[in-house]
């Protein structure tokens, strides 16, 4: 916002309140209510408004308050944001970024623990990027805004609750188009994104104790997937597991496994694995431990994959 006056924020409760997760806290005081705009309760209208702003030369960043509430905006996101660049012959820039907290395991109410990223990934030409932790999220968002493409920027809300972040660990620059190798390993490759990156790292730490060395990759770019890196990291170990908090059917994890199976089939030494939620809506919080992927489930699957 400092670097570019055309960047403005639109969202519910982002100004005076600083956002329900306080992500935009202090920005209204600093940049004014004209640039940090508290909007009416109107997801479809807000995204459409942002599209209009972009057509007039602005670079709006829209905050949708919760994953589950993006549904009313799908007509604007999938019907317009995704299609407008091609509809207009790629002659018009549409630098609209939609920020969306996503994921569960925070004992939240219904519609507050969703993983809608597949809907966006299946809507070319939307760019879909998933932050995984505070240390890289800021630089990732900067990279996305600079690129100026219609983008869905997913923020794993579980990570909002982190209380300690080492200042020295905060990255200044990150490329949102490529995977990030977050842990070296030799026996098994874990592809994760968003909230499952920390899950994969926890599982990897446990598996180390059992003599299994895991290579963990943060996909970062959900759409388009960084196909080249995914292929390379798959070939390194020949054992691939893809993680998602979303339901298994048509998930990003399924897409990664499909890609790897088609691209790197000869290098696979075991069937690839998908770790996802079962094919039903997220249950009430009392039952979410049985629903979302857990460290135990990941470890069990990797052990089975390694030992046949």
């Amino acid at each position: 916002m400092l670097a570019d006056e055309s960047v403005l924020l639109l969202g519910e409760d982002i100004g005076r309140l600083g956002g329900v997760f306080r992500v935009t806290r202090g920005l209204r005081d600093r940049f004014g209510a004209g640039r940090v705009v508290d909007t009416p309760l109107s997801e479809a209208g807000i995204v459409g408004w942002a599209i209009g702003e972009a057509l007039a030369g602005m670079r709006p960043i829209v905050e949708i308050q919760f994953d589950g509430f993006v549904l009313p905006a799908l007509n604007q996101i999938i019907g317009h944001l995704a299609k407008m660049p091609s509809r207009l012959g790629y002659q018009t820039e549409l630098p609209v970024v939609v920020r969306l907290p996503f994921g569960g395991r925070i004992r939240a109410a219904e519609f507050h623990s969703e993983s809608p990223e597949t809907l966006f990934a299946h809507s070319p030409e939307l760019t879909v990027v998933a932050a995984s932790r505070p240390e890289t999220a800021g630089a990732l968002l900067k990279s996305v805004v600079a690129a100026g493409q219609p983008t869905i920027f997913l923020e794993p809300k579980r990570e909002y609750y982190r209380t300690r972040v080492e200042h020295s660990a905060i990255k200044a620059a990150v490329n949102h188009r490529i995977c990030e190798l977050v842990r070296e390993g030799t026996d098994a490759t874990l592809f994760a994104y968003g909230p499952t990156v920390s899950l994969a790292l926890e599982a990897a730490a446990q598996l180390e104790g059992q003599g299994i060395s895991c290579l963990v990759v943060d996909l970062v770019s959900i759409a388009p997937l960084d196909i080249e890196s995914i292929g390379n990291f798959a070939r390194r170990t020949g054992r691939v597991t893809a993680l998602t908090e979303g339901v298994e059917r048509c998930s990003i994890a399924s897409e990664v496994v499909s890609l790897v199976s088609r691209m790197a089939f000869e290098s696979l030494v075991a069937p690839p694995v998908v770790i996802a939620s079962p094919n039903r809506p997220p249950p009430p919080p009392n039952f979410e431990d049985e629903y979302f992927p857990s460290v135990a489930r990941v470890c069990e699957a990797i052990v089975r994959q390694c030992h046949g």
């Binding site: 004209g34 909007t39 009416p40 109107s42 479809a44 209208g45 807000i46 995204v47 459409g48 408004w49 942002a50 599209i51 209009g52 702003e53 972009a54 057509l55 007039a56 030369g57 602005m58 009313p72 007509n75 604007q76 019907g79 317009h80 407008m84 091609s86 509809r87 207009l88 012959g89 002659q91 018009t92």
Partner: protein, 303 residues
């Protein structure tokens, strides 16, 4: 020789635009029947509404259309060939929308209103005095996004003029089955701004109300909803068969109020010579014939 006063001159301008829109409409339907374009949503009967609205814009104002605004498009300078490329399914936006100040057609009805609001709010924030004018129909007015956009426009005091062409039909649904509201313009009051219901077939009335609304928006007094009461004399598109759902005898009542011949008779009655009117018609006919040839050569290069 007859005196052409300024009212006459405005009406002559209106007639030229409306006659061009009518000729374009007839030509496009003929092109569709020949297979030269794939499909077309006719605005026959709505020429006064569209041309007068478009003629009211200032030099930096913009129109956000739905998908049935050929009259408005032509007034804004979109070329017939560019519209035919759309209806020929070659491109979704064959015209330079920034140059023409006429945005791309919008197929998901009603979803264009928020774009018009966002554009206008952005321009105002940048210190410009531009106004956006957005078209939608009586059918679209039932969509939730129309409500959202108007609510936003009201609370943001957006310099946007909402033009609802109430042409009586949404494919086969007559307006009386679309809503229980007595009129569509009354909805404006629900959003905190004013509305007007205008005879959409009277080009001077349309022009007056649109200019007033645009002036008001430009001066910073926010949005207006204008309901233009007109009639869709043709079908929903060239794939439609209105005989299946409407009584063509009833449509005849509206045919008697067809704005193009009505204005023509009015001009002659007011003292315009038939030569003057004929000159306009001849010129427009010739232009359109030339455009048609260009387009046909484009799609049948070998001939």
């Amino acid at each position: 020789m007859s005196d052409i006063n300024s009212q006459n001159s405005l009406e002559l301008q209106a007639y030229e635009a409306m006659y061009r829109a009518r000729c374009f409409d007839d030509t496009t339907i003929a092109l569709q029947r020949q297979g030269a374009v794939a499909g077309y949503a006719s605005a026959r009967g709505q020429e006064a509404a569209q041309c007068a609205v478009a003629g009211s814009l200032g030099p930096t104002d913009i129109i956000f259309p739905s998908y049935r605004q050929p009259g408005a498009a032509l007034v804004m300078g979109v070329r017939p060939v560019e519209l035919w490329r759309f209806h020929g399914r070659q491109a979704y936006c064959p015209w330079n929308w920034k140059q023409r100040r006429f945005f791309a057609y919008c197929i998901p009805v009603g979803s264009q209103l928020s774009h018009a609001v966002g554009w206008a709010v952005a321009r105002r924030r940048l210190g410009a005095e531009d106004v956006s004018v957005v078209f939608f129909g009586d059918g679209s007015s039932s969509q939730g996004e129309v409500h959202e956009a108007m609510n936003l426009a009201g609370v943001l005091n957006a310099p946007t003029v909402f033009v609802c062409e109430n042409n009586g039909w949404a494919i086969s649904m007559p307006t009386c089955h679309q809503t229980a509201a007595s009129t569509l313009h009354v909805r404006a009051f629900g959003y905190g701004f004013g509305g007007a219901r205008v005879d959409g077939n009277d080009p001077m009335a349309v022009r007056h109300s649109t200019e007033t609304a645009i002036r008001k928006a430009r001066a910073g007094f926010g949005p207006t909803l204008i309901e233009l009461v007109t009639h869709r004399l043709g079908g929903h598109t060239t794939s439609d068969n209105p005989a299946l759902y409407r009584d063509e005898i009833a449509v005849e009542q509206w045919t008697a109020r067809d704005p193009v011949p009505v204005l023509r008779r009015r001009l002659l009655a007011a003292g315009c010579t038939s030569e003057a009117v004929g000159e306009i018609e001849g010129r427009v006919d010739a232009q359109l014939r030339a455009d048609t040839e260009i387009f046909l050569k484009e799609i049948h290069p070998g001939d």
